[in-house]
């Protein structure tokens, strides 16, 4: 059959049955061999666990023994779970409020770090350094800064006669505290913005200047549109990162709770999606339920990314 396909009329249409030369074939084999470590790693440690978790999400998972197929029960239970919605709401807050704040802050920092002033490299290092501090260490540090009674932030506010909030125990202030903490570690976003800013053609800025545009007008009409692909990239990675927000919230909850229930304190205000997922999987041992949560999160992130790409298409300017 195979020989019949190769011979005959199809032989004259190389588009349908391409024939590789021995060199191409050897190169292909060699290439496959070189990427084999990655391919094997991907199949064994990414694709297989992903597909396994999809299967587990339809089961009452057993750590040892046979998991029982329960169809959509985990998914249906999730929609009835009050804490699932709390966690989703808290995460949405961080995405909708936190990500834009972090982006604007990073952009402003990048613009300042792009100015031609003395000691600029020093400032760049200073702004980047916090992002290489381990998350747990930086969160512990911020717990000192945010301490409602003895922290330097509330002491600073006190200088102006302001009574600082109880960042630890007031559920209205715990998420803003985490966003504030996040501002400190935006070094990588700043660097990406900075590289984008340095790619803005000087000719365009000079032309605008000659036309009498002020610094602010040049920023608004030239710089911001020119870095819009960078903004889109930072926005998408920021949204994905925020949906998976975990370590800071976990450490924060453990530090501020007095009840021994480290997760979500105060009053479930820091119960984020990934934190609740972890709690279900590793503390309540409901791995099937946690897998269902993971897949819902996957589709939420996928949906958000597609929507962001679609809606920003018309306002993102690609110079090439």
């Amino acid at each position: 059959m195979r020989s019949a396909q190769i011979s005959g009329p199809q032989e004259r249409t190389p588009r349908l049955a391409p024939r590789w030369s021995p060199t191409t074939r050897r190169n292909f084999r060699l290439g496959m061999l070189f990427i084999a470590p990655w391919t094997i790693g991907f199949l064994a440690f990414t694709l297989y666990p992903m597909l396994a978790s999809l299967y587990f999400s339809f089961t009452d998972y057993r750590f040892r023994g046979t998991s029982q197929w329960i169809g959509l029960a985990n998914y249906l239970q999730l929609f009835r779970d009050r804490l699932f919605w709390t966690a989703l709401g808290n995460t949405a807050y961080m995405v909708v409020v936190g990500v834009p704040i972090l982006l604007v802050f990073s952009f402003v920092c990048a613009v300042l770090l792009n100015l031609k002033v003395r000691g600029q490299s020093f400032y760049r290092v200073v702004y980047f350094l916090p992002s290489i501090v381990p998350v747990v260490a930086s969160t512990m540090l911020w717990l000192w800064i945010l301490n409602p009674n003895s922290g330097i932030l509330n002491s600073f506010l006190g200088i102006f006669g302001l009574h600082g909030p109880n960042w630890f125990h007031d559920p209205a202030w715990s998420k803003p505290a985490l966003i504030l903490m996040g501002l400190w570690g935006t070094g990588s976003t700043i660097i990406i913005y900075l590289s984008g800013l340095q790619d803005v053609p000087v000719s365009l800025l000079e032309a605008a200047e000659l036309d009498g545009a002020s610094w602010l007008q040049r920023l608004w009409h030239v710089t911001i549109p020119m870095v819009s692909p960078i903004t889109l990239f930072n926005l998408i990675t920021g949204v994905i990162g925020m949906f998976q927000y975990f370590s800071q919230a976990y450490v924060f909850g453990a530090a501020v709770t007095t009840m021994g229930n480290a997760i979500g304190a105060p009053l479930n205000s820091t119960l984020f999606y990934s934190v609740y997922l972890y709690q279900n999987g590793f503390i309540f041992l409901k791995m099937g339920y946690a897998s269902a949560m993971a897949w819902i999160l996957f589709f939420i992130i996928l949906g958000c990314t597609v929507l962001l790409l679609r809606f920003t298409e018309s306002i993102t300017y690609y110079a090439v």
Binding site: R62, F63, R64, G65, N147, P148, N149, S150, N166, F168, H169, V256, T257, T258, M259, G260, N261, I263, G264, A265, P266, L267, N268, Q279, F282, I283, F284, L285
Partner: protein, 432 residues
């Protein structure tokens, strides 16, 4: 062609490099290794030294890993090579693990190795008992009692040698021991009910109940003792203002630091465990602290509940995936021997679970330790009741307690709601 030779050479070199360690590992007569995982890690070197004694006596090596994280435990328990013995800081998770088939029932091993259950105090042993099946054995035990600062008592005009005798008197004393700053904030507080963590189990027991019935088959979250316990706790916050108490508590030093609220003389009374009187805590951080320890007082209407304490503590189990269960059981039997229990508990100032070990004269040398020893042997000593959904129930209770204490919420509707949601889960988990 030269490139190809080079590639072959690199591939051969890599293969040799990968194979070498494997060859080195295949010694003809390898020493047997038993692995012990322990979830706390205050003093791993001391634990390793203790287990080395077993290794030396039996010509094998006992490898101690401490501390171990929860995720690692789960992966190991469900994998093909779990540790031979797992020691947990509490029994909360044991029944959840057992429900997942991760725990080896110990009854036949207890019999085979001659572990004397009669020598183990009843209260800590009961936390491992699931309808007659022993899922674990208690190694060390913790009990909570009331600590009071004698200097602060004196300064407040109270008898420094007389702690409160009832829960009502404790509230009264706390009031006298609380000092406000001119701006209304707190400078010193008499008592914080959830300092340094929740003690709801103790308070609920004092009011005559718990969040499960005695055999752990029913949830009793909205029972009267639970409501009474939460309301009793709540008053300490409502009297001084939840925001004031929370802000005050936030400024207190870390648990293991000289600035810990009680050590620093800012909290006059606290509920805490027996380890506080041992070498690693009060004598280490504030050796000069003038304090006393007494059993937590009962409510005035139920003085017969004096001596009530909730016993919980470290438990040791054999994972079901262990291949040489006999060797693991022998090691467990050694761990449970009075001599080793005494050795370990003296080193860390924890309560021994063995009655024989409790007679060890070294315990008597630790000041105030006798208070805890008496509490453990007291007829009113209660064990912590656990179920396969303990973690979910504990988490939910923590959330409710937080709402009741920190926001002044009414506990009744919250407990009713939790009862309605969690009771069917327990029935399902117990297969009822």
């Amino acid at each position: 062609m030269a490139n190809r030779r080079l590639l072959t050479l690199i591939a051969v070199a890599l293969a040799i490099a990968l194979l070498l360690p494997a060859c080195r590992g295949a010694k003809p007569q390898e020493e047997k290794v038993l692995r012990v995982w322990i979830t706390w890690g205050d003093n791993p070197a001391q634990l390793q030294a203790l287990f080395n004694r077993y290794g030396e006596a039996h010509n094998l090596h006992v490898e101690v890993t401490a501390p171990v994280e929860q995720e690692r435990i789960l992966t190991a328990l469900s994998g093909s090579n779990p540790p031979d013995i797992l020691v947990l800081s509490g029994g909360d998770l044991v029944k959840s693990y057992a429900k997942q088939g991760l725990v080896e029932p110990l009854n036949k091993w207890i019999e085979a190795t001659g572990i004397d259950l009669k020598d183990i105090f009843e209260a800590p042993l009961n936390q491992c008992n699931a309808n007659g099946t022993y899922l674990c054995l208690p190694w060390g035990t913790d009990i909570y009692a009331l600590f009071w600062n004698k200097d602060l008592f004196e300064a407040a005009g109270l008898d420094p040698e007389r702690p409160p005798q009832t829960m009502e008197e404790l509230v009264e004393f706390a009031d006298r021991l609380t000092i406000r700053n001119p701006d209304g904030t707190l400078a010193q507080i008499g008592f914080i009910p959830d300092f340094s963590w929740s003690h709801l189990d103790l308070y609920a027991r004092m009011f005559g109940g718990f969040w499960y019935n005695e055999d752990g088959t029913e949830l009793t979250l909205n029972s009267q003792p639970m409501i009474d316990a939460m309301l009793w706790e709540q008053q300490f916050y409502t009297r001084y203002g939840p925001d004031n108490v929370l802000a005050f508590a936030s400024a207190l030093g870390g648990y293991m630091s000289p600035d810990q609220g009680f050590y620093a003389g800012r909290v006059a009374m606290m509920v805490d465990g027996e380890w506080q009187v041992g070498p690693n805590f009060i004598p280490h951080f504030r050796p000069e602290l003038n304090y006393g320890v007494a059993p937590f007082p009962p409510p005035a209407a139920h003085l017969e509940r004096a001596g009530t304490a909730v016993v919980q503590g470290t438990v040791a189990l054999i994972p079901s995936g262990v291949k040489d269960k006999e060797a693991a059981a022998r090691l467990l039997a050694w761990m449970m021997s009075p001599e080793i229990v005494a050795e370990e508990m003296v080193a860390n100032s924890n309560l021994p679970t063995s009655r024989t070990a409790a007679q060890d004269p070294r315990f008597a040398q630790i000041p105030n330790f006798d208070v805890f020893l008496k509490l453990m042997g007291h007829p009113n000593a209660k064990y912590i009741i656990t179920t396969p959904i303990s973690m979910e129930v504990n988490e939910r209770l923590g959330q409710i307690e937080e709402q009741v204490l920190h926001t002044g919420a009414d506990p009744v509707p919250l407990l009713n709601e939790a009862q309605a949601e969690l009771a069917p889960l327990l029935k399902q988990a117990l297969g009822q």
